[in-house]
């Protein structure tokens, strides 16, 4: 009887110890930490066929074979406004490269507000609209700004959630070129 009680006490102690270890190592972990990175890295980028602000269309099939940087943004998002100069600088560095394309996909905004922003601030790369938010959903976006780099063979090679710096963008570009 005394042995049985000892075993039970031992088992209870083991359970409490394991519980303590699990709680100590996991409770401090942010359960939504996975929301800060793309789960599509290494996968084929979603196919898009979107209207552009200038009345044209942008299709992923037309961009095949190029490094494509896709930036989800809108006019009212302050971090998007903050990263705008970096996006413009990065685009100017690579604009002459025929193997490079950059698309800003508008998330959750009105055409009028976007046109005003583009006129006022100047957006030198293609601005695409996302009516119905299908592209935003397909890319698994959580908000804006979010930036994705797609390799010439159509695979998502890098992502940046939150505002990008020129350095971030260059790193994404290098990843998409297969240089990282």
């Amino acid at each position: 009887m005394r042995h049985r009680a000892r075993w039970i006490a031992l088992a209870a102690g083991a359970v409490v110890t394991v519980l303590a270890v699990v709680l100590a190592t996991q409770v401090g972990t942010d359960p939504r930490a996975d929301a800060n990175k793309s789960h599509l890295l290494g996968q084929n980028a979603p196919a898009v066929d979107l209207p552009t602000l200038d009345g044209g269309r942008v299709r992923s099939s037309d961009l095949a074979g190029k490094v494509v940087v896709v930036n989800f943004w809108n006019s009212w998002c302050i971090p998007c406004q903050e990263e705008h100069p970096a996006l413009v600088e990065f685009f100017r560095r690579h604009a002459a490269d025929p193997g490079f394309a950059m698309v800003g996909i508008v998330r959750d905004d009105t055409d009028g507000a976007i046109r005003r922003y583009v006129n006022d601030e100047g957006v030198p790369y293609t601005v695409a609209l996302d009516p119905g938010a299908q592209a935003s959903l397909e890319f698994g976006t959580r908000g804006q700004p979010e930036t994705y780099a797609i390799s010439p063979d159509g695979v998502i090679a890098g992502s940046q959630f939150g505002p990008s710096s020129v350095t971030n963008l260059e790193n994404l570009y290098a990843a998409a070129r297969g240089q990282q």
Binding site: A5, A12, V15, V22, R32, D34, R107, D108, E138
Partner: protein
């Protein structure tokens, strides 16, 4: 069967019936709209903090509802739709964590500790009942002897 065993049997029956009612899937075939609502209510709206896709009115949530509707119409099961969203957004897209892996440990260990503790208590009580710590003294025996008619 003793009265005590009958009581235990009745208690076990109540527990089993309660668990069966709770765990049994709600009967009847659900309509497509009900399935869209049900799956949407389990998934976190991607661009809100704590609303479900079924509740939120953001553009992405509306797109997700349309997407789930299409998936249901295409014959995907609820589990397949959930998995598609986990693949795209990660496990945090689920409003309630999955009942597996670490979740089992976190929920199961306290329950196991409770069962072990209760078991230990029962054993200890039985032991104490079999081995009384108080023994009658000569004075007690004398008192009982005098009290007897």
């Amino acid at each position: 069967m003793s009265r005590r065993n009958v009581a235990w049997l009745a208690l076990a029956a109540v527990v089993v019936i309660t668990l069966a009612i709770v765990a049994w899937p709600s009967g009847g075939t659900r309509s497509d709209a009900e399935r869209v609502r049900s799956v949407g209510s389990e998934l976190r709206c991607p661009d809100c903090e704590s609303q479900s896709i079924a509740q939120s009115s953001t553009e992405t949530a509306r797109a997700a509802r349309a997407d789930i509707r299409q998936r249901v119409a295409a014959g995907q099961s609820d589990a397949e739709i959930r998995q598609a969203y986990i693949d795209k957004f990660g496990p945090s897209i689920l409003l309630n964590p999955e009942s597996g892996g670490l979740g089992i440990l976190v929920w199961g260990l306290p329950a196991a500790a409770l069962v072990l503790g209760a078991g230990g208590l029962v054993l200890a009580l039985r032991r104490w009942r079999r081995e009384p710590h108080l023994h009658p003294t000569d004075a007690d025996r004398e008192l009982v002897h005098r009290a007897r008619p």
